[in-house]
Structure formats: C-alpha cells, structure tokens
C-alpha cells in the first residue's frame, strides 16, 4: 500500500466515521452566533443588563402571582445547586422563586425555570419530532428535541419529585433512572412520522440519566427526563431548525 493508497483509505475511514454534517448546522451556528453577544463590548454590558431586568421582572411576577399559593404543595424544583434540599413526596411542582445563578463555565447557567412553564403558539399544523439528542456540557446536561414542520402548539415543562411517569393514557407507569424528574408535554406534535430513532436514551451524565418518550398519541408527545439530583433546568425554543432545548444544571 503506497502513500496514495494509504491516504485514500484513511480518508475513506474518516468519511466513514464522520459522515456529513447535518444540513442545519450552518444555520444553527449562525443563529447561535447572532444570539450570543461578543465579549468585551457594549453587547456584553447590554446582555448583563437584560438578564438583570429579566430576573427582576420574573421576581415581581412571581410575587404578584395570585395563583402561587394554590400550586405550592411540596418543594420539588430544587432551585439551589446545593444537594441538601431533598424533594418531598409529591407530584406537584413548586413554583419556587428562581435561584441565584450557579457559578458554572460558559454559558452561565441561570436556574430560572423551576416552576412549570408553558409556551403556546397559534394553531400550527402538527410539528413532527425529527431528532432527539442528549449531551453533557460544562455546567449542564442538554436534551434537544428537534422538530420539522414548524413549532408545536404548546410546550409544557414540569419538574416533579421522583421519576415515576405515566405511560400515555394506558394507566401504566414507568419509573425511570434518577431521583427527580421533568415531564415535558408537547401538544400539536407527533414523534412517529419523522422520527424513528431510540425512544429511551439512558445516559451516564452528571445529572441527566434518562430521557424517554412516554406518550406519542393523538398529537400529544410526552417525554420524561430522569435527573440524578435537583430538577433545576432552563429551556428555550430555538429556530433553524426549530428545536426545544432543555438544560439541566449539572455540577
């Protein structure tokens, strides 16, 4: 095998390992760059100011929320990175106020969303789940649910004590790995038209230990996330491609 043969075969092997990047990578990078202020300039200062204002607004909204007493049944959403606060036995999430941001590497993790969060879009056609990915990053573990055909009608993210999740309407339950859970309810979506990948991802990340599709019926997709520690998370819906990103704070 000469030099050219070796090179060709090595390049084949590399092609074989890497495949091609997904078509959306370029757009994803561009949109992330546009969302991210460069460091050291006025954008950075503006970003800090915006985050501060957002935290203040969330705090004020929390204080004046007339429904908050009804929802407090037990402490579940562990907003503090401290491991001391153990969850009580309840399935209702606590709308605890947002915690102070954890000291973690870039991007900084602000554990803001510990109460159930719902987003709603105008009536959209059914959004098809096209990919389900997990990854561990500095300071957080990430679940990415990618959609084709637009954004789903609504997304609800609910932290819960324990990892027992209902399996659709069957009445059966499943106990997933971890100590606490996050239930993600996506309405106006299905996970069987464009998605044929694994439906139960067991991982060995610092916090996120299991991600499972627990329901996929009549336009409702539910996922259970098993968290090995406090169910402290943030989430965002990004575009190009449309995707729901849930980050769970990790040590």
């Amino acid at each position: 095998m000469g030099n050219e043969d070796f090179r060709r075969e090595l390049n084949n092997a590399i092609d074989n390992i890497s495949g091609s990047p997904s078509h959306g990578l370029r757009d994803r990078v561009r949109s992330r760059l546009i969302e991210t202020p460069s460091r050291g300039g006025p954008f950075w200062i503006a970003g800090v100011a915006a985050v501060t204002i957002a935290v203040l607004i969330v705090g004020i909204l929390f204080v004046i929320n007339p429904n908050r007493n009804n929802a407090i049944i037990g402490g579940v959403g562990q907003v503090s990175p401290s491991p001391s606060a153990s969850p009580s036995a309840t399935t209702s999430p606590s709308p605890s106020p947002s915690a102070s941001p954890a000291a973690s590497p870039t991007p900084a993790f602000t554990c803001a969303n510990t109460a159930p969060i719902t987003t709603q879009q105008p009536a959209n056609p059914i959004a098809y789940v096209s990919a389900l990915r997990t990854g561990a990053h500095a300071g957080y573990d990430r679940v990415t649910i990618e959609f084709s055909n637009g954004e789903p009608a609504s997304i609800e993210v609910r932290p819960q004590a324990g990892t027992k999740f209902a399996l659709g309407e069957s009445g059966q339950t499943v106990t997933m790995a971890g100590k606490n859970g996050i239930l993600v309810v996506i309405r106006g979506a299905d996970a069987h038209t464009s998605y044929s990948g694994p439906r139960d991802l067991k991982t060995n990340y610092p916090r996120l230990v299991e991600t499972r599709i627990t329901e996929d019926f009549e336009g409702v997709v539910q996922l259970g996330l098993g968290i090995n520690g406090p169910a402290c998370y943030r989430f965002s819906v990004l575009t190009n491609p449309t995707r729901l990103v849930i980050d769970v704070q990790a040590p």
Binding site: N16, S18, S20, L25, L33, R133, P206
Partner: protein, 175 residues
Amino acid sequence: MQERPQTLARATEGDANSFATLLEPLLDPAYRLAAVMLDDRSAAEDAVQEASIKAWRKLRQLRGEVGSLRSWFLSIVANECRMARRQRWWSVVRLPDIRTAAEAGAMSDEPATDLKAALLRLSPDERLPLVLHFYLDLPLEEVARTLGVTTAAAKSRIYRAAKKLKSDLTLEEVF
C-alpha cells in the same frame, strides 16, 4: 478572498453575521475533525457549535490575522472536543448512528473498515494530526499552529500516529 480582511474587521467590531460568514467554509472541516475525535456525530455538531461561540467571544485574540483563522478555529474545536471528553459524556452508552445505504456500502469496504477500527483505537489527540494532515490537507505549518507545537513536532506527531496505523510506513510516504 479580498473581502475577508474587511469581513474580519466587521466581525471584530461585533458583527455576528460577518463572523458567521467567515466561519461557514470552516464548519465542514471542523465537524469532520470533531466527529473523528469524538466518534459521535451529534456530539461533534454540538462541539462545533460551542466552539463557534467560544471563537466569537475570543475573536479579539486573533488580532485581525485572517490567514490564521482556520488553524485558530480548528484548535478551538479540538479543545472543545477534549473538554467534552473530560466532561465524561464520553462514557455514555452511545446508540449506533443510522447510516444511509451508500454509507453502509462504504462500510463493507474491508480495508477502510480495518483502518477505521485502527483509527478509532488511537487516542483522539493522535487522530487529530492525521485528520489535519491527510484529510484536510493542511500545510505542515498550519497543522503545527492548530496543534500548538513546532513544525518539527507536528511532523513527528503525524508520522508517529500514521505508523500506528501502518507500521511499515516510511517518512517519505507520509510527507
């Protein structure tokens, strides 16, 4: 090409679109480098994405040297891959990628499969110079800059790693 210094200047002033335009041609090589280092396609895309943001934040370190952009960015991608491995998400049970029929055909190519297995037995830091030299065809000086070593050291790393794949390889066959 003439416009690249101006685009870089705009990017340095904070124009994210200009920076994205500069990065675009580098995303494919960066992805392939990350995919080989991590042996995980989805993690490779995440690493490239994170590296892009880090590069954006550190852009001033480049000091307007557009000629160094590729090696500078690839070195950030390589660091991101190393960091990703240190974060222990390497140890997860990874599910097999769904491969297309064409890729499945390519997999049946036995020598390539043997070489692939041999390549994956190398450490990610040993795979890195091989991708830079053989696959991305970077000049030795640029390989050295990406690795953060001298040209002689880069040459040595390429040769050592290549020898692990094919023991009878001579220096002349590699360079």
